[in-house]
Each structure stands twice: as structure tokens, then as C-alpha cells.
């Protein structure tokens, strides 16, 4: 919310430099003022939140009853309301600022001998905080820098273990105000060194020593990587730390020492001496304050009056300049200046703000020439503390109806269509960011201790760029029909040869989902399925989808834990391999069900949250996305939707992707899988899928992108373009490396069949309304799967109408998938006939559909000029032209012909 400047106006009243005129009735109307200010701020928000922005900020603003606020030369503030005239507040903004207080203090490390072999190591810190010592040990003979868990007796009470290599122990507050933890060392153990870092749980910051762990050597031959504490050598670095260049080369003496000790296998502890080391540290504590700035145009004097108000405590000096002629260079305005203004080295002005009487901050009023374009400033709190706005100078543009491009534009476009004015006012926002960039570049002198801010700005900019690019993409793509004509284009291109691609296989694939929700129950599914290999092959299936093979928390396999453990409730890894072999023998390719979105953890973290993994892929919480609060991941934000039952994997992490690629390749190699069915791909960016497909080179891959269709008042909308667009977007993000289940088609079939609304089956362009109408080669059509049907029945296909569904998908383009339960049911023979028709007529994923009829009670289409089909109770006969149609399959409310 904006700060409402009523109060400040009253305070400001005694300031000079203000307009000398006023007009209208003098009425004080806090109510309307408040309203307006809210209006402004919400506008601002709007502009900030949407990249398009909104011209309503300019338009709505002007037309509303507005309140002009002006300071006058008299000792009273004047608040005017004007009904018809345009508002003259030209800029109003409440800038949040973060004041970083730096607390300085020290970390100390003390080694003390208690008894002969009992020593005590104390680590302390003088700055308040929620300090945690994160530590581990190295044992004698360890090479490398890995940590180990310390022996139990070394762990102070209150410690808990982090995986198998570290301990976290909180520091306790001592009476003298320091925080400290003491570890008892028994030198009879073979501990060679103690490694630690300090963590401040308040800020999440880690404190290391020279970029490495602190390392306290307890024997003489601990290799010195420059991070030893209390060692006799290398002391020079301690206490001065990073401003001393650290030379990696070891002195001759050190090298000698090392070579000596390496030949000597006995533990050398002779050199252990008591010591006490201190290292300075600083901790940053951020305080949030705000600066609210209002600029008004005084029409009579055409001056710009800027009021700056802040709740920052203490003396606040505004260090400022003005901008002219389109440049953001600081210039000194002509006099007069506000009170308490000093000229600073002829380059800027410094004005100390007046303290507010109630001590809640300061304020100031600046009156500037109306021709100026803006006011730049930064705030100075003391010699060393400067504040700017997210790494930028504060900038107050003086936009008026005559000088502002934004408003001029807005005024113009108001005469035109409302559609274009959105565009234009958005440029105002871009201007802001551009200004930010510009200032960021010009001025770095105010960036003291604001590295994070700069980063933030950069991130903001990058995000903004991404957002804008995505917007541009979506519009460009929708105006250039890239997908609608694919079937024709591709079929022309690719007819001569069968091209195998992971999105389509050969193009002639027919998928069989080889399990249902109950398949795990027998514990020997693989073996049971094997027996059906020949039958499935003779039915005409070319691809089999097997259930998820990994160890899983849930028996069905969709809550995977150890990805490399392929013993599941469906059978052992050997049975799996054998099954794959058997299917290969009969010419059926096999898809593995890869659950990549989430993974169940093996261990809890220190907070008791399950987010640490074990097994061969022993990822830690960096592999978990950060935006699911349940799992306290330390990865990046998810690139997709979250699945809330298990930690969602952060695919943006290189190590995660590397491991997944390795795993997929291993599964290809070890099990013999030919491709993938990818579970819950809504959860992560399709671009990663492309990456995985490129690495694992599947023969065929299909992703499950399942979200809801659009309904209005419970009635499914006719137009499901938005729904299929999302799926197509995902496929597109994979660069077509994977197909996707055509959820849209299933949904529309539901509505069409259930309510006898067969007109739904043709989109306005006369194409199939599902993904199959837009990108047939990547659409995997299906009517049921283990989730939607089986014993779960989350979204069951209309009962009794399954064969109509199959008559549709098995004759249409796309790659059809048949559900296991349906194959081995009463529909067996009908499905078999349809399958054999599809293969006989060589219908493929890019076949061309001509919809002949889509009416209330009947839908009919001719595919590739050689197959005709109808579903629905209504009547249809294929046209009697040159072709001789004969009935191929017939059943309840459906009929399929082939031309002979």
C-alpha cells in the first residue's frame, strides 16, 4: 500500500518552495484522498505484475474524481478536490528499501587441554544469532576432503546427524553474551582433524574459513590447504583472512614436513598445543523501511513539487540531482534549493530531510522547474550507508500530459480501440526497468554492501525478459499456424521413408498399457504378462507399456525411492529383464514407466522432514524444489506444478539431470527398455525432458500431461483449445522428442458419448478437437488408463461406450493406446478387429482425417480415403463415389468401413 501523504502534508506545510497559488475549494477530505492513493497503488501493482501493463492506470486515473494535493506557501496544507480536471499528481510511488545493518563480531576457536588425552575444542561467536555448528571429522589415514561422522562420545548433547557425514550442534548462549559450543576430544580415538562451518539459521548464511571448512588439526600431518586453524604454520592468514592473497604454493619446509610425515605412519600428536584464534565476521541484518515519493505538477507555476517521505530512523540526507534532455545524468538544478541543502562538489545536491515531530521518520519537499524530466536521488544515512532502490538511483519522472510519452500515448489510444492501449502504457513500465539498467550501469558508487540487491535486480530483469519473451512467443505462435497444418506437411515430407523419432516411433505404433492398478497384487506380474506376449503381438500391438519398475513407497510404483533398485511388487529385476526379452522376441518394444517428477526420500533432515535421499543417487535437499514448503528443498523453484505427496525433484540442478540421464541410459542398457512413459510431466519443464530424451535416445516416449479441461457451469466447453494448447506447449518444449497422452480427446469423447453431443468431435476448423487435431504425430490417444479407470476410476470413460471410443482412436491419427483391462474383456474380439484393420490399412499417426459428419447423434469421418467410420446412434453411410466401401467392424453405435 502506498503511504497516504496526508500527514506529511501537514508537516510539510512550513517548508518554503511550493506553489504560490491554489484554487478551488479548500476542503480536507481524507476519505477521498485515501481512496485515490489506494487507486494509485493498485495501478502500480497492476503494471508491475503484468508485463503488458494496463493503460487503465493512465486512463482510469484521469477520468476518476481526483484529488489534487498541493502544498502552498501559507502555513497550511491545501488539499483540493477537483471534479472535472485531470489530476496533477504525476508520480507516486512507495519504494521499499532495505537498510542493511552490519553487525561486526568475531568467531573464535579455542583448543584447551583438560587432562592428558582429553582436550576441549570450543567454537564461539560474539554476534547474536541462531548459530549452528555444522561439523564432522577426518580420521587418520583419510585422504581427500570428505567428512566423517565423529564418534558418538564426541557429540555434545543436542547434536543431530546430517546424513552420514556431518553433525549439527547448536551454539549455546553464554552468560557473557557469546555463543559457544564445546566439543570434548579424546585423543585416543583416531580423529585426525575436526572440520566445521558455522551456520546462522536466522539468515541461512554459512560462515566458512577462507572459502573452505574450518579445519582444526589434531595430528601433525594434516594437509594444509590454507584452512587450518591453530596450526603452527599459516597463522598469518588468520585474522586478516580474505584481504591477504592466499598463495597456494607451499613453502619448502611444509613440503618437507609432509613428505616426512607421510612416511611415518604413527600418529603424531606431539605438536598439539593449546591455542585461541579469533576471526572477524560480520553479519548483515536487513531492516525494511520505505520511501514514499509523490510528485505533482503545479499547473500555475508549472513547477514540479516532489515530496519525499520515509520512515527511516535517524538523519536522512537526500543526495540528488535532476535530469534533463532525456538523459539520466545528474545535473544541478537552478536555485533556489530547499532548506538545509548543500552543493556537493558541484555534482549533486544534498538536502537533509526534516525529522517528523513524532520521530517516525523524515520528510522533505522539493520544488523543481517544470521543464525538468525527472529527479534522481539516493539516500544517505551516514558516511558509509547509502540507500538506493534495488541497486538503482531512485528516479522520479515528471510526466505530464504534454511531456510524457506514456500519457500522450494513453490519451491518444483512448480514442482508438481499448486493445492497443494496453500495449503502450506497458512501455512505461519497460522504461522503468530500462532506467534501472541504465542507472545500474552508470552508477556503482551507491552499491555499497548491496550485492544482493544488484543480483536481485539482475534476476528481476532476467525474469522480466523471460516473461516478455514467453508472451511474444505465445502470440507469435498463435498467429502463425504451426501445428494445425502439421498433418499435411509432415505426411508430405515423410511419406517416402519411415523415420523413427522418439516422439512417434515408426509412426505406425499401437500401444498397449500392460497393467492396471491391481497388477502389483500378485507379486508376479512380470511373469503373468510374459505369458501374454505372443497374444499381444498377434493382436497387432507394437509397443508395451510396463508399470514403474523401481522400489516404491506405494506398491503400484509411482512413489519411487531408490531408482536403481528394480525389485518391485511387480517382480524382480531379473523377471523384468526376462519379460522385456520375451516381448522383444515377439517384436514388441517395451516402455518403462519413468517417474521423474518426484522421489521419496530415505532420510529426514534436521527438521524431521524427509528430503534426503539414499541409495546410489544419494541426493540431498538441493535436489528438491524449493517451493514446496512440505519438503524444505534447497533447490530452485519448480519448473512446473508440484505433486504434493513426495519431494519434487529439482531438474534445474545439473547433478540431478546428470544422474537422471545416467539412470535412463542404465535402464535402456540394463533392462533393455526401448522407451519411456513419463509420469506427471506437468511437474517440470519439457525442455528437461528433451534433454533426457536426447541422452537416452528412446525409440518411443510419451508423457503424461494431465490437467483439467475447461467447463462452464459444469458443462464442458466446446472449445478446448486452451487445454490442448497446454499439452502441445509441453510437447513443443520437448522439441517433439516425446509425445503426450491426448487427454483432450478423452475428455471430449466423454462429453460427446455421455450426452449424445457428437458435434463436439469437430473443432471450428473441421479438425479433431483434441491434441490429435493439432499435432497428430505427437498425440497418444487413449480412453482409459490405470488412474482414470481400473479400480481407481478417477475419470472413467462412459461405461458401455468404450468401443465407440476405440472405434474413434483406432481409426484416427495419433498413436492409439489400448488399456489392458479392455483387451482382456468382452471387447477382446472387437478391439482385435479394429487393431487388425488399423494395421491392414496402414493407418498411422499422421493419417489424414476428413470429418464427414458431426451432428448431435452421429460423428463420421474418412481417414486417408481408405477407412470410413461413424460413432453414435445416428445414421451414416460413407459416400458412394468411386470407392467401394465394405463394412470392416461393427458394434453398438459404431461402424467402420474400409475401401476395397
Amino acid at each position: 500500500m502506498s503511504t497516504v501523504p496526508i500527514e506529511s502534508l501537514l508537516h510539510h506545510s512550513h517548508l518554503r518552495h511550493s506553489s504560490r497559488t491554489y484554487r478551488g475549494t479548500r476542503s480536507f477530505s481524507p476519505c477521498s484522498l485515501n481512496l485515490r492513493s489506494r487507486f494509485t497503488s493498485s495501478n502500480k501493482q497492476l503494471v508491475l505484475n503484468s508485463s503488458i501493463g494496463s493503460a487503465t492506470s493512465a486512463l482510469g486515473f484521469r477520468s476518476s474524481n481526483s484529488v489534487a494535493v498541493r502544498a502552498s506557501s501559507s502555513d497550511t496544507a491545501v488539499v483540493e478536490t477537483s471534479q472535472s480536471e485531470s489530476d496533477d499528481v504525476v508520480f507516486k510511488e512507495n519504494f521499499p528499501v532495505q537498510r542493511i545493518d552490519k553487525a561486526e563480531g568475531k568467531i573464535y576457536v579455542r583448543l584447551k587441554q583438560v587432562k592428558e588425552n582429553d582436550w576441549e575444542l570450543s567454537v564461539g561467536c560474539s554476534i547474536p544469532g541462531k548459530w549452528i555448528l555444522h561439523w564432522g571429522v577426518s580420521y587418520v589415514g583419510d585422504t581427500g576432503s570428505e567428512w566423517d561422522q565423529p564418534p558418538e562420545d564426541m557429540r555434545p548433547p543436542g547434536s543431530f546427524a546430517i546424513k552420514d557425514y556431518a553433525i549439527e550442534t547448536p551454539l549455546e548462549k553464554l552468560s557473557e553474551g557469546d555463543f559457544e559450543v564445546t566439543i570434548n576430544l579424546n585423543l585416543e580415538s583416531s580423529v585426525a582433524a575436526l572440520n566445521f562451518v558455522l551456520k546462522d539459521e536466522e539468515t541461512g548464511a554459512w560462515y566458512q574459513h577462507k572459502g573452505r571448512d574450518f579445519k582444526v588439526p589434531l595430528v601433525d600431518d594434516v594437509p594444509d590447504n590454507g584452512n587450518l586453524i591453530g596450526a603452527k604454520k599459516g597463522f598469518g592468514a588468520i585474522g586478516q583472512l580474505s584481504n591477504i592473497p592466499l598463495k597456494q604454493e607451499k613453502s619448502g619446509a611444509e613440503v618437507e614436513k609432509e613428505s616426512n610425515s607421510s612416511s611415518d605412519s604413527t600418529i603424531e600428536r606431539k605438536g598439539l598445543q593449546e591455542f585461541y584464534e579469533e576471526m572477524p565476521i560480520s553479519k548483515r541484518v536487513a531492516d525494511d523501511n520505505s520511501v514514499s515519493v509523490t510528485a505533482r505538477k503545479c499547473p500555475e507555476t508549472s513547477k514540479n513539487i516532489v515530496s519525499i517521505e520515509t520512515d527511516l530512523p535517524g538523519d536522512v540526507t537526500v543526495h540528488w540531482g535532476v535530469c534533463k534532455n532525456g538523459s539520466k545524468r545528474w545535473e544541478i538544478p537552478s536555485e533556489p534549493y530547499p532548506e538545509e541543502t548543500l552543493l556537493f562538489k558541484n555534482k549533486a545536491l544534498r538536502t537533509r530531510l526534516q525529522r517528523k515531530d513524532d520521530g517516525t521518520g523524515s520528510f522533505g519537499l522539493f520544488s523543481l522547474d517544470g521543464k525538468l524530466e525527472g529527479l534522481c536521488f539516493v539516500l544517505k544515512l551516514n558516511e558509509n550507508t547509502w540507500l538506493n532502490y534495488r541497486g538503482e538511483d531512485f528516479y522520479v519522472p515528471f510526466l505530464t500530459s504534454s511531456s510524457s510519452p506514456v500519457e500522450t500515448e494513453a490519451a491518444q489510444v483512448s480514442e482508438h480501440t481499448p486493445k492497443t492501449d494496453k500495449e503502450v502504457s506497458a512501455s512505461g513500465f519497460t522504461d522503468e526497468i530500462i532506467t534501472e539498467i541504465r542507472n545500474l550501469a552508470i552508477d556503482i558508487s551507491h552499491h555499497k554492501n548491496q550485492k544482493t540487491n544488484v543480483k536481485e535486480v539482475q534476476e528481476n530483469i532476467l525474469q522480466e525478459i523471460e516473461k516478455l519473451a514467453a508472451e511474444a512467443y505465445s502470440i507469435f505462435r498463435s498467429t502463425t499456424p504451426t501445428f494445425t497444418e502439421e498433418s499435411i506437411l509432415e505426411s508430405e515430407d515423410e511419406k517416402p521413408e519411415i523415420k523413427i523419432s522418439s516422439g512417434t516411433g515408426s509412426g505406425f505404433e499401437i500401444l498397449c498399457q500392460g497393467f492396471n492398478w491391481e497388477s502389483h497384487k500378485s507379486g508376479r506380474w512380470y511373469l503373468e504378462l510374459q505369458e501374454k506376449a505372443k497374444e499381444l503381438a498377434s493382436l497387432g500391438f507394437t509397443v508395451l507399456w510396463l508399470p514403474p519398475p523401481t522400489e516404491s513407497v506405494s506398491p503400484e510404483g509411482y512413489m519411487p525411492k531408490d531408482l536403481y533398485n528394480l525389485n518391485s511388487r511387480y517382480g524382480t529385476i531379473d523377471e523384468l529383464k526376462d519379460t522385456v526379452r520375451k516381448f522383444h522376441k515377439v517384436g514388441i518394444k517395451v516402455l518403462g514407466d519413468a517417474v521423474l517428477n518426484h522421489r521419496c526420500a530415505h532420510f529426514k533432515n534436521q527438521n524431521g522432514v524427509w528430503n534426503l535421499f539414499g541409495g546410489r543417487l544419494n541426493w540431498d535437499d538441493r535436489a528438491v524444489v524449493a517451493d514446496d514448503p512440505h519438503f524444505q528443498g534447497r533447490g530452485n523453484k519448480s519448473s512446473g506444478d508440484n505433486f504434493h505427496a513426495a519431494p519434487n525433484i529439482d531438474h534445474s540442478q545439473d547433478f540431478v539431470r546428470k544422474d537422471i540421464k545416467e539412470w535412463l541410459c542404465w535402464m535402456r542398457e540394463e533392462v533393455g527398455y526401448d522407451g519411456w512413459r513419463l509420469d506427471f510431466v506437468r511437474g517440470f519443464w519439457g525442455g528437461y525432458v528433451k534433454d533426457y530424451m536426447d541422452a537416452s535416445k528412446p525409440y518411443f516416449a510419451v508423457g503424461e500431461y494431465w490437467d483439467s479441461l475447461s467447463y462452464t457451469y459444469g458443462e464442458m466447453d466446446y472449445n478446448q483449445d486452451a487445454h490442448r494448447q497446454r499439452i502441445v506447449d509441453w510437447i513443443n518444449a520437448t522439441s517433439g522428442a516425446a509425445g503426450a497422452f491426448d487427454v483432450t480427446t478423452k475428455g471430449i469423447l466423454h462429453a460427446a458419448l455421455q450426452k449424445c453431443e457428437y458435434w463436439r468431435l469437430s473443432d471450428p476448423k473441421g479438425k479433431p478437437p483434441g491434441v490429435v487435431g493439432w499435432w497428430p504425430s505427437r498425440a497418444v490417444t487413449f480412453i482409459e488408463n490405470h488412474d482414470t479407470g481400473s479400480t481407481q476410476g478417477h475419470w472413467r470413460f462412459p461405461e458401455g461406450k468404450e468401443m465407440q471410443g476405440y472405434a474413434y482412436i483406432l481409426t484416427h491419427p495419433g498413436t492409439p493406446a489400448v488399456f489392458f483391462d479392455h483387451i482382456f474383456s468382452d471387447y477382446h474380439s472387437e478391439i482385435a478387429s479394429l487393431l487388425s484393420l488399423r494395421n491392414r490399412q496402414k493407418l498411422h499417426c499422421r493419417s489424414e482425417v476428413n470429418i464427414d459428419k458431426s451432428e448431435r447423434d452421429v460423428y463420421a469421418a474418412i481417414i486417408d480415403d481408405k477407412v470410413a467410420m461413424k460413432i453414435g446412434p445416428g445414421h451414416y453411410e460413407p459416400p458412394n463415389g468411386s470407392k467401394n466401401w465394405s463394412v470392416a467392424v461393427e458394434g453398438r453405435d459404431y461402424k467402420v468401413w474400409e475401401s476395397s
Binding site: 503488458i52 561486526e104 576432503s145 546430517i162 556431518a166 539468515t203 541461512g204 548464511a205 554459512w206 560462515y207 566458512q208 577462507k210 572459502g211 573452505r212 571448512d213 580474505s242 584481504n243 592473497p245 592466499l246 572477524p280 540531482g321 545524468r329 545528474w330 556537493f344 555534482k347 549533486a348 558509509n384 538511483d393 510519452p405 500495449e423 512501455s427 519497460t430 522504461d431 530500462i434 539498467i437 545500474l440 550501469a441 556503482i444 558508487s445 555499497k448 554492501n449 550485492k451 544488484v454 530483469i461 522480466e464 525478459i465 523471460e466 516478455l468 519473451a469 511474444a472 512467443y473 502470440i475 507469435f476 505462435r477 502463425t480 540431498d620 525442455g687 513443443n732 518444449a733 522439441s735
Partner: protein
């Protein structure tokens, strides 16, 4: 050595990066606090005790980084510095303005331009079609669509490079002006024609340049009128927003004959386009004047067809007709028309645009196909020839030099390794040759990529731009559209821009290195990294 890290207005984002980097240094030092805020000095390990200081004037506007000798503060090798100074432009879609003067995908373009601006792109290239502006009647110009685009570009704060296109384009279907097409129907001789009589209707034949075929005006007069109208209508933008004007010199704007007519993919080297009425009569006249009237009856009879391999017939083979006396006669004439066309257009333009201080450019094709054949047949059919194996581009470059015109060379993204071996093509060597020719005559080269996506494109572009010898200071990336903004491509493009703008990643690495030497690191570094530390 004193390096000022600011002051150069075209490296905005780069400077933003610098600011960050310097902060990294400062952050890493413990000495910040008490001292004077105007000077921060510290040592860093990687600089080997050399003094690195950042001098900040107290005025918040300006800051200089002073780097003492030899310090790799910024890896300011000549290459990378050169790279950072290359101005990057992006082309707008060809159909930005529709033939009824509407701005297409206005919203997308606006968003796209903002994204590019934020990314640090210098400006954009706008293809302006003759067929849109002077659509209805000779001398009746409607610039409104393009003006609207220019205004958007200006608002977003980008520069504009206008490409005046006197050709049509099949895709997106913008032809020559309606009135010109009408003339063409009545008088088909105005179009390039091949030996089968097929016309290329997207561009007027070079032979009619000075023939009053357009309602009593010559194409060059019409061209002058167009340029002058452009100059006066866009006068407010000249020099500030518009920083470059490209003159369309032929098919697709490139200086060449439409030797492939429409389909570049055809396997051959293209065919000669000298069979329109005006060409043939010019050839006849030339033949007679050189005493070989029989040579003026038509083009070479033994040149291969569009879909034939160039060495499959005798014209282009080693010792074939092209090397014969006849070949020299024909090719000299054929290429001279191209050269004089370039000269005419550029002279018209440079007089029309004289005094506005905006550089003019013309675009050459990169005829790399078959250039490993000795005859380099693609160049010959497109009109590039010089007797006795001399530099075929010399005459053209000379004309560019004479008119102080910059040369745009496309195909900077093509690399030899991605060419199919059958095409006997080496884009890299041709590019190198063109660069040398231009350098000889001090013609400034601007780069472009080929418009179709090719593998390894960005790496190749960077390689080309890095070459300080060539002095390419401007690169136009073609072209904005759905593909351009698709997540995958745009990401790659972002990386490309950053590679150009960030001097070299190494300086970034250094900052990171220094940072890790400090006691104090921010959140975000975690336990696992500690484990391996």
C-alpha cells in the same frame, strides 16, 4: 593501462554485469567499512599482489575502474573487447507490416522488443517493403504501418535499422506494388526470366533500371522517389532512432540474380537469368559491339538445369565453356549488369540520403554452394565473375567503397562442418574471402546469419565476430518470430547475447574465486559443497 568501464553507450548490459562483478570484489574484502568511501583498495589472490582499485568519484554518476598493469581484472584481450563492442540487432518479422499497412502481431512485437531491450540488444532491423508503402499507385506512399513500428521501437529505446526492400517476398506473400505488378502483366519483360521463360516476379530485371517502364518513370527514378519520401517522413527518427538504412539490391534484398528463382534447395548451382526482353536486347547489342553477333542470341546453351549437378554438363566443368572466350564474354556482360545495378541503386540512395548522417548498407549473398569447384558456379549464375581468376567481388566492393556504403554479409552462422559434403561448399572460406576484399577497400562489414536455423550457429557467429581483423561492428540476427521466442531458441539466444556482452566468463570466475576466500559468504552455499571443500 587505464580502462574505463563506462562511457560507451552500447554496452549497457555489460556494464551492469561489471557493476556486479566489482561488487563481488568489494564484498569480498573486509576493508570496506571505515575507510574513505571513495576508494577501495584490496588485494586479490588471482591478481598476484598487483594493486586493483576501484576509484569512485563521490558523485554518484560516474565511476571508473582503474586497473593496474597487466591485471586480468577484466580479461581485456583485444578479441573480447572487440566482441563486446559489436552492436547487436535483431530483425523484425518480414510481415511486421501487412500489405494493408497494419502492424501484425503488434502485441508480440512490443513484448519482444522489450525483452530484447532488457537483454541489451542495440536495435532492430525493420524490413520495409516497396509493395506495402507504394502499393496503390506510383508516388502514393503510405508509411503509416512502418511509422507506427518506428514509434514503438523508439519508445522501447532501441535503435532502428531500416531495410528498404524493392523486392517482393513469397513468404509472407508481399509482392511488388500492385501497380507495378499490373505493368508486369502487360509487359512481362520487366521481370527476370530464365531460359524456360519462367519469370521471377519478386524483383524487376536489372536491365530495366534505366528504362522508363513504370508509368513513364525508370525504376531508378521510382527508387529515388521512394528514398526521398522515406527520408522526409522519417526525418524525426533519422540519426537518433534510425541508425542505418539498407538498400535492397535485388532478390531478397541481396545483390544477385535470382539464379535459383524460388527454390534455393534445388541441388544445382542455379541458372542464368538473362532471358527477358531487355536483357536479351542488351546482350545482343553487346555481342554486336564486340564483334561476335552470334554470341548475342541467348545465354549459354550448355549450362546445367536447376536440378542438375553443376559439373554434370560442360559449362562449369574444369576447362568448360566458362573458361572459354565465349564464357568470358558472356559472364563479363552478365556480371557487369549486376555491378552497374549496384552502382545505380547505391548512387541514387547516397544522393537521396546525403547529409542525414545515417550510414547506408547493401547486402551481398553468401554463395557458398559449390564453391569448392574451380568454376564456383553459384557465383557465376548469381552474377559474380571476373576474368582470369581475379577477385570476383572486387568490382562490387569498389562500388560500395565509392558510395561509402557498408556491406552486409549473411551466413555468419554457417560452418563448413555442417555442410553436406556433396554440396562442395565452404561458407567459411568464402566469408573469409569477402572479409578480406572488403578490408582491402576499407568497406565496413556488418554481419547477418542465414535465416534458417543451423546447428552450431551461435558459436560460429561469435567466432566470426571475434575476428577483430574483419572489424565487424554490427551484427543483425534474423529474425524475430515464433521460433525466435520459443523457449529453447530464446534461451540459446540469451546465452549468445551474454557471451557477446560479458567480456569473458573468466572475469566472472575470478570474482567467484575471490569471494570464496572470505569468511563471510551469503546464504545459498550449502552443506554438500562444504563436504567436498
Amino acid at each position: 593501462m587505464e580502462v574505463s568501464v563506462i562511457g560507451n553507450p552500447q554496452t549497457r548490459l555489460c556494464r551492469a554485469e561489471l557493476a556486479y562483478r566489482e561488487l563481488g570484489f568489494r564484498f569480498g574484502s573486509v576493508v570496506i567499512s571505515g575507510e574513505s568511501r571513495n576508494k577501495v583498495t584490496f588485494l586479490s589472490q588471482s591478481s598476484n599482489f598487483k594493486d586493483l582499485s576501484i576509484r569512485c568519484s563521490s558523485r554518484s554518476v560516474k565511476c571508473e575502474a582503474v586497473v593496474s598493469d597487466g591485471v586480468p581484472f577484466l580479461k581485456s584481450t583485444p578479441n573480447s573487447r572487440w566482441l563486446a563492442s559489436v552492436k547487436l540487432f535483431v530483425g523484425l518479422p518480414l510481415d511486421t507490416v501487412s500489405d494493408c499497412n497494419n502492424v501484425n502481431h503488434l502485441k508480440a512485437i512490443t513484448a519482444g522488443l522489450k525483452a530484447l531491450k532488457l537483454l541489451g540488444v542495440e536495435g532492430i532491423e525493420l524490413p520495409i517493403f516497396w509493395g506495402v508503402v507504394e502499393k496503390e499507385a506510383s508516388g502514393k506512399y503510405d508509411w503509416s504501418g512502418y511509422l507506427a513500428v518506428a514509434e514503438i521501437v523508439k519508445k522501447v529505446g532501441l535503435k532502428l535499422h531500416a531495410s528498404l526492400s524493392f523486392h517482393g517476398s513469397k513468404n509472407p506473400g508481399i509482392g511488388l506494388p500492385d501497380w507495378v505488378e499490373k505493368i508486369g502483366e502487360a509487359e512481362p519483360g520487366v521481370y527476370f526470366t530464365d531460359r524456360y521463360g519462367q519469370q521471377y516476379k519478386e524483383c524487376l530485371s536489372f536491365a530495366v533500371d534505366d528504362v522508363p517502364v513504370l508509368d513513364g518513370k525508370t525504376p531508378m527514378e521510382v527508387c529515388r522517389g521512394f528514398c526521398e519520401s522515406f527520408k522526409s517522413v522519417f526525418s524525426d527518427y533519422m540519426g537518433n532512432t534510425i541508425t542505418g538504412i539498407t538498400l535492397g539490391l535485388g532478390p531478397d534484398g541481396e545483390l544477385r540474380y535470382p539464379s535459383h528463382q524460388h527454390d534455393v534447395k534445388r541441388s544445382g548451382a542455379g541458372e542464368f537469368q538473362c532471358y527477358d526482353k531487355h536483357m536479351l536486347s542488351a546482350l545482343k547489342g553487346y555481342a554486336e559491339s564486340t564483334g561476335n553477333p552470334l554470341w548475342g542470341l541467348g545465354g549459354p546453351h550448355d549450362a546445367p538445369a536447376y536440378d542438375q549437378q553443376p559439373h554434370s554438363s560442360s559449362f562449369f566443368s574444369d576447362g568448360g565453356s566458362w573458361e572459354s572466350q565465349y564464357g568470358d564474354f558472356f559472364l563479363s556482360w552478365y556480371s557487369s549488369l549486376l555491378t552497374s545495378h549496384a552502382d545505380r541503386v547505391l548512387s541514387v540512395a547516397s544522393s537521396a540520403f546525403s547529409g542525414i548522417g545515417v550510414p547506408l548498407c547493401g547486402k551481398l549473398p553468401l554463395l557458398h554452394q559449390w564453391n569448392k569447384l574451380r568454376s564456383q558456379p553459384s557465383e557465376l549464375t548469381a552474377g559474380f565473375y571476373s576474368p582470369n581468376g581475379q577477385d570476383r567481388y572486387e568490382a562490387i566492393v569498389e562500388i560500395f567503397a565509392k558510395n561509402s556504403c557498408r556491406m552486409i554479409i549473411p551466413g555468419m552462422d554457417l560452418s563448413d562442418e555442417h555442410q553436406s559434403p556433396e554440396s562442395l561448399s565452404s561458407p567459411e572460406s568464402l566469408l573469409a574471402h569477402l572479409k578480406t576484399s572488403c578490408k582491402k577497400q576499407r568497406v565496413v562489414v556488418s554481419g547477418q546469419n542465414s535465416s534458417a536455423p543451423v546447428p552450431g550457429a551461435f558459436e560460429r557467429i561469435v567466432e566470426n565476430l571475434k575476428d577483430e581483423n574483419a572489424g565487424i561492428d554490427l551484427f543483425t540476427y534474423q529474425r524475430m518470430g515464433a521460433l525466435f521466442f520459443s523457449p529453447e531458441h530464446f534461451h540459446a539466444f540469451t546465452v549468445f547475447v551474454r557471451n557477446l556482452r560479458q567480456f569473458e566468463l573468466t572475469s566472472d570466475d575470478q570474482a567467484a574465486e575471490v569471494e570464496t576466500k572470505t569468511v563471510n559468504i551469503g546464504s545459498g552455499s550449502g552443506a554438500p559443497s562444504l563436504q567436498t571443500a
